[in-house]
Subunit: 349 residues, 2 copies
Amino acid sequence: MNLRELALQLGLSQTTVSRALNGYPEVSEATRKRVRDAADKFSYRPNTRAKGLATGRSMAVGHVIPVSDQHEMVNPIFADVIAGAGEAYAEAGYDLVLSLVGARDEAAFYRDLASRGTIDGIIVHGPRHNDPRLPLLKEIGLPFLVHGRSSLADVSYSWVDVNNRSAFYRAAGLLLDLGHRRIGLINGLAGMDFAVRREDGYRRALTERGIHVDPDLIAEGEMTEAHGWASAREMLSMPDPPTAFLVSSIISAFGVRRAAAEQDIALGSELSVVVFDDDLSYFRSDGGVPQFTSVRSSVREAGRMAAEMLLDIIREGSDEPRQRLLEAELTIGRSTGPVPTHEGSKTTG
Amino acid sequence: MNLRELALQLGLSQTTVSRALNGYPEVSEATRKRVRDAADKFSYRPNTRAKGLATGRSMAVGHVIPVSDQHEMVNPIFADVIAGAGEAYAEAGYDLVLSLVGARDEAAFYRDLASRGTIDGIIVHGPRHNDPRLPLLKEIGLPFLVHGRSSLADVSYSWVDVNNRSAFYRAAGLLLDLGHRRIGLINGLAGMDFAVRREDGYRRALTERGIHVDPDLIAEGEMTEAHGWASAREMLSMPDPPTAFLVSSIISAFGVRRAAAEQDIALGSELSVVVFDDDLSYFRSDGGVPQFTSVRSSVREAGRMAAEMLLDIIREGSDEPRQRLLEAELTIGRSTGPVPTHEGSKTTG
DNA sequence: TTGAAAGCGGTACCAT
DNA sequence: ATGGTACCGCTTTCAA
């Protein structure tokens, strides 16, 4: 059933039917009701493409996930961001077009997307430290919003981000308050913007208190269990091992926990672990009990926010960038305690 | 730059330009080259909506992820399936439209999708045991393919699935061969089709060897670490505890490992763990070393296959269902060993 | 081998 | 308040 047929059924013109359905005020309430009822009855749905062609808008938003060929898997965080965004789109009647694109041909890809008119705007995921995509998108003129930020990018742009720096500053502060002086940082991939900011917060906290930042206590890598395990293992076997860890992901924290268990080191009493957890409920390890001290931010919520802001930008057509910085929430769990005395209380073994 | 402008530039008609670009044979090679060069020069891209409107195809495929309100997070498996599918779409020039939809209004949603003409076909994720979506889609007439299967659904339909039953049958067989008689099954959510099949394989292996299937050794739930931990913990404190576990996900296996560690039970020598791992490289725990014995299947590969098959269906317009069953690969790691003797060798503590 | 023109299914301007 | 009609950008039939 299309507009013409519906109009025919009603004995009205396409124009009137279209107006009735789209809430134009000049249609009489009587006709509007008639039209609506008929549309309902025949379950008429306007054709998206035709509508888009006529209006010049596609009513779709693109999400671009960068996939470097090195990683087999897509970072599960994206799934949650997108779930949050999806809610917003569903409510606003927008479609979500997902593209996974390799770093190689990204530029061409964005240009294509814009000129083919598939989407009205775009959300950029996983920004790197000085991300070339931002100036590119700016140049293309496609409305976009970044989930995360890209420092050094000297263009102004819209973003939604969690305050990674302050999160790690506060987390490190907590450990310092507990007396820890050797704090290992197990961070994400070096090029990622969030990792840079997290290290920044960590460094600042230490420096402010006059604590030396030991580069051997900083590990970077993909946030896998293996990375957490290998990094923690290595650091724990140093002559002067860390008494606490700051971990960039719950997955890596599983690895840290394993390394500790293997060396018979008790979490909480002998080793403190604070983890940045993006609310990935599948991977939360506590089961109701706060096993780790965590710095949490709802990625899903951020996704929703990002989508809503992008839709605003698209609809208003305004050019001034919108930015939203979310503070993460520090939840103290039983994996964090004061520095053990040297005669310490082994709880295991 | 649109077709009209491009044609104007070339002094040709839109018709000819369109034909040249779309590989129609009646265009002379000379003109074709001229046209191609110009299109290149102006980086002309045909408008997707206009093309779709004219051809009746949208060149887009939908992926529908069911989100029950109970789960906060989207199962990370979907991310990988979609990554695989995305590759196929990119190559074939299709877009991927992602929808996350609650169980409540699914029916209406599918009808909408079809009648608005947003997509040419659809991939159904996370089928439940007797999934009502399949007959619905059949009725609507939208080409679709299921990732996974839905037993009891008495319609014939296309699917791509890993052989869950044989995977768990073989895994249980391995443990039985090693002498295990008490094998705990830590499975996924009860309603999911894959969970039913996995339990089926497990049961069959036991029954065939005359081993009693103890319902207390079967746990179902979301595949979180907490679930693995709680289930393993409970089973391990039974009077007659399991000597081995079959776990439906690497995440839950982390929980099993934790429960074992807490009770000072050594993996490999005192407790065997076989895990079904969907190749989620972020969560693999081995770091090159096979820590767990695993039954692996590449979800990404399955996603790609699903996409390719759906595209075939769309293009051929044929109605006969295509089906593809993938066998998972059993990789024996060091977490699996024979049943410990009662005087057993504690390696920990 | 090329071109004119009629759709595809809507929207929106201009009349009435 | 309602209708006629010219688009939107492309494909495709028919004619030349």
